[in-house]
Symmetry: C2
Subunit: 148 residues, 2 copies
Amino acid sequence: MRKLDKVDLQLIKILSQNSRLTYRELAEMLGTTRQRIARRMEKLKKLGIIRKFTVLPDLEKLGYMYAVVLIKLKPMATVDDIINDIAGIEYVKIIEKGIGKYNLLVHMLVPKDLSEAEGRVNEFLSHIKDIENVEVVFISKVPKFEII
Amino acid sequence: MRKLDKVDLQLIKILSQNSRLTYRELAEMLGTTRQRIARRMEKLKKLGIIRKFTVLPDLEKLGYMYAVVLIKLKPMATVDDIINDIAGIEYVKIIEKGIGKYNLLVHMLVPKDLSEAEGRVNEFLSHIKDIENVEVVFISKVPKFEII
């Protein structure tokens, strides 16, 4: 299997702006053939470089917002066990393992209503043991959301 | 224009798992017609409820990682001006305006190499005035990334 090249990166960049383009449209944009695009797409999916084709909705218009929970765990805590525990929770959307002041960053999908949101955050935090420090930031606006 | 209903939400949920499904496939999954799906999709785009169809790549396999910059601005700072200043920077991918200990959460795309990454973060921070407090968290792993 060939390595990644410049065209693969261009393809990912174009798809990040519109993942519903057809192979034919992608081929035209990149000056190649439908068949070659199909082959590249297969490769990118097989290598796990493309994890998913998805949609970016306007959360606010759907009645939701993100609450970002920043967690510093105690030194004895096993981060990966905690990640396994919370990964299955439906409203836990993004889990990032970090190096720095916090070692776990969690985006939760919560109702726009602040008191309901707080209730859900508290419920979530009750699941996590060995927290040394935690901060909760409610996201009021997402002016930019690109993936790559 | 009709309001959002349950089928719209189901449609968004399905697209969030695979945004390349055809109208025909979506119609089959939702037990409706191709035409009705087309009409709903138009509505969701027109209302801005669907902002974008995109792709989730494995950043690590592409040689990148996120650096998350958590910023508390000084009380006199004008958050929206700062957002306008940084929104156009190519490597600034996600900007979230928050309420809590930090009022700006920025996901930057940086090289996996930590010293290069630090250089880029410092360069970024030099653009922002009126910082009261800042923390940088380098993301070593993204075990879950769902949008909704």
